[in-house]
Symmetry: C2
Subunit: 408 residues, 2 copies
């Protein structure tokens, strides 16, 4: 008899964004004449940078001729892209990352969801709250949690790192030993950023405890304050204990084009039951080459173009555009009397909703036809907050804030 992975039975409700999509669809069907403004899922809205478009077309043309056609590429990504990434995103900022430590993939969601596979199911996982749901759900699926505790609103067996007003949504070190630690800065959903000193605490903790940090830096391009780190590898010792996830999605508008990457330094070790060190790079390489077959060649060429002079200027303009939206949203919400975090060095504004967060979500949807994301969807500590995303046109952002101003 074919038996299911019983861990799936522990999962609560449907995935946050699917749940939002259902409510939005219901609203649109009931109100076909109302124009909805989406500031919810964190999806970019502006066109691909022109440099990427040009490179994309050129690569499609290569695929159109037998002589320049490319079939299977290296699973880890083409050298041209891995080298551009290592050089521009890390070495140029003084962080040591080699090209062969970069694994190109089709999404940071996929990588941050899959990476846990190479570790034992018998480890203690620490996950911030509020948090991007993928970290929690994929560990529940793998069997690293106990049952859902409805009273607590949390899974048994996971260590939750609380974010709250007091710590500015930058979690404190855990009060018990943990083995695998998820961190995300600039934070999704709370828009908070960590200083070099704050990250250093985590790196030191991981080194002292033989833990591993999975660092999600999908929003690093939004960091404008040059005193803040963009990569965890700007912190001494991080190469021994940290994996970093990056994406072209928010930087260059690749949410529908699909390209991301993961950095796995060769110094990172995980351990056998007997305590023998094993290279995490070797483990991930085995997983990646066995279960993945590289990213579409034209997409890799489009991603490479992000690093051209033209591409860099266009990406800077794009990021600046969304940051201007973020600033506008934050100012308007503050003027309406709402406390905010983020919106600076981050495309997300995290707002104290002063009421149940799904209630506030429904109110913005039904009364203002504006879609946000309810904080409770990101965990227990997100209750009482909503996230507004800056990913839309400035005109839409202005209109959304006008509509919200009328109902609050």
């Amino acid at each position: 008899m074919i038996k299911i992975n019983e861990n799936y039975q522990k999962l609560q409700a449907s995935y946050l964004f699917s749940n939002i999509a259902k409510r939005v669809n219901a609203f649109q069907q009931a109100n076909p004449d109302k124009s909805l403004i989406k500031l919810g899922i964190g999806d970019v809205t502006r066109a691909l940078p022109d440099a990427c478009v040009k490179a994309f077309h050129l690569a499609v043309d290569e695929m159109a001729q037998d002589t320049t056609f490319r079939g299977y590429g290296p699973e880890q990504g083409y050298d041209f892209l891995r080298e551009a990434i290592a050089k521009n995103d890390f070495q140029a900022r003084g962080a040591r990352v080699e090209a062969d430590e970069v694994f190109v993939s089709d999404g940071a969601k996929c990588d941050s969801g899959n990476f846990q596979e190479i570790f034992s199911t018998d480890i203690i996982v620490a996950i911030p709250d509020p948090v991007y749901p993928v970290y929690v759900d994929t560990n529940v699926m793998a069997g690293r949690s106990g049952a859902w505790n409805a009273e607590q609103g949390r899974y048994e067996g996971l260590v939750y790192l609380d974010g709250n007003r007091d710590n500015g949504f930058i979690p404190d070190l855990p009060d018990r030993p943990v083995d695998l630690i998820y961190l995300c800065f600039p934070n999704n959903p709370a828009g908070s950023t960590a200083t070099r000193e704050q990250l250093k605490q985590w790196v030191d903790y991981a080194r002292a405890n033989k833990s591993l940090i999975l660092f999600d830096a999908a929003y690093e391009a939004f960091v404008q304050d040059e005193t803040l780190p963009r990569s965890i590898y700007e912190v001494e010792g991080a190469r021994e204990v940290a994996i970093e996830f990056r994406s072209f999605s928010k930087t260059a508008g690749f949410t529908g084009t699909r390209c991301a990457y993961t950095v796995v330094p060769k110094e990172c070790m995980a351990y056998t039951e007997a305590g023998e060190p094993v290279s995490v790079h070797a483990l991930w390489n085995r997983r990646h080459t066995t279960k993945f077959n590289s990213v579409s060649y034209p997409v890799q060429r489009a991603a490479e173009a992000v690093y051209s002079a033209e591409g860099q200027a266009q990406v800077k303009e794009l990021v600046g555009y969304y940051l201007n939206n973020a600033k506008y949203i934050r100012e308007k919400m503050e003027a309406l009397g709402y406390d905010c975090i983020g919106g600076v060095n981050s495309p997300y504004i995290w707002i104290d909703s002063k009421c149940d967060s799904w209630e506030f979500f429904d109110r913005l949807l039904n009364e203002a036809a504006v879609v946000c994301t309810p904080g409770a969807g990101f965990g227990k500590c997100g209750e009482g907050y909503i996230r507004i995303s800056a990913f839309n046109s400035f005109d839409k952002v202005v209109e959304a804030m006008e509509r919200i101003g009328c109902i609050l």
Copy 2:
């Protein structure tokens, strides 16, 4: 302490194709002047069909304008593609598959590797031998095997379905109950095809034993004999017990472009420990939406174009071209006195090498500068065979067979 997934320690050597790549690289470095002909990995060599190229470009242009730009798409794929697939690949052949049973992905390798995740690790897995290594390796990684038995040349705990000369590399039903069954027709690597009656036996077995079949039909486009099934859903009852993997890789030359899909009929059930049925479609949908973020939009448009009248004609020509290569290779090898399977209704020719298969591989590489795939890389039953792939230009195929003719 961060502990590894100890199952990875059981894995043998490196992944077959990486191993081949290493030997080929060593040969090329030692013989920089020799031109190598690759008939190994099963990678297509001819340009994308013109219909796909046109659609690809148009979609890139859409991504270049704010007004037509697309961000995140539905994780399961766009309706335009799911509907085209259901209609053309199944309904047109009398097989019932609905659009919402189609999950578009970036590769059949990924899907056939990932699908096992939704099942218990405590099930018995049956895998053909010889076989595409991904089925075995991913189940070892997940912990469904015991240790590697060096004497047997197999993992403990897996049920191997022997392919051999007697059964024409179409495995017989297992001699003990199994829960998850991998089948692949037209077969990779052996090029064998199964009749409707042969598949019916497996479907009946699965229905009787509450087993599930993972049916890999990546090479269905090569089936020219209209009496042979292209899909397992052409067999009565299969919707209750079979998942089917398909790919645009070999059909339309998408190995470097990346698009595939998996069909999960709503009737398929897996069971809890207590014997309660659970929808496999719902389980996979949860997995797919949590760990995957859809295929690049321009790639989905390129795949859709396969189903246009122009695309269908071009794909037919492509497939015919490779089949003509296959026929040529088979005839030449038979003329040299080698027994062959496949090469008809399949792009692979499976050849009795009359010696150790890595030895034969090395001989073709070092003496003829031709790359094939050693049968032993596909499992114990592949020992004594090699696989030659028809994926190359006809000129190269002719030259390769000339070179081989000189040394054998």
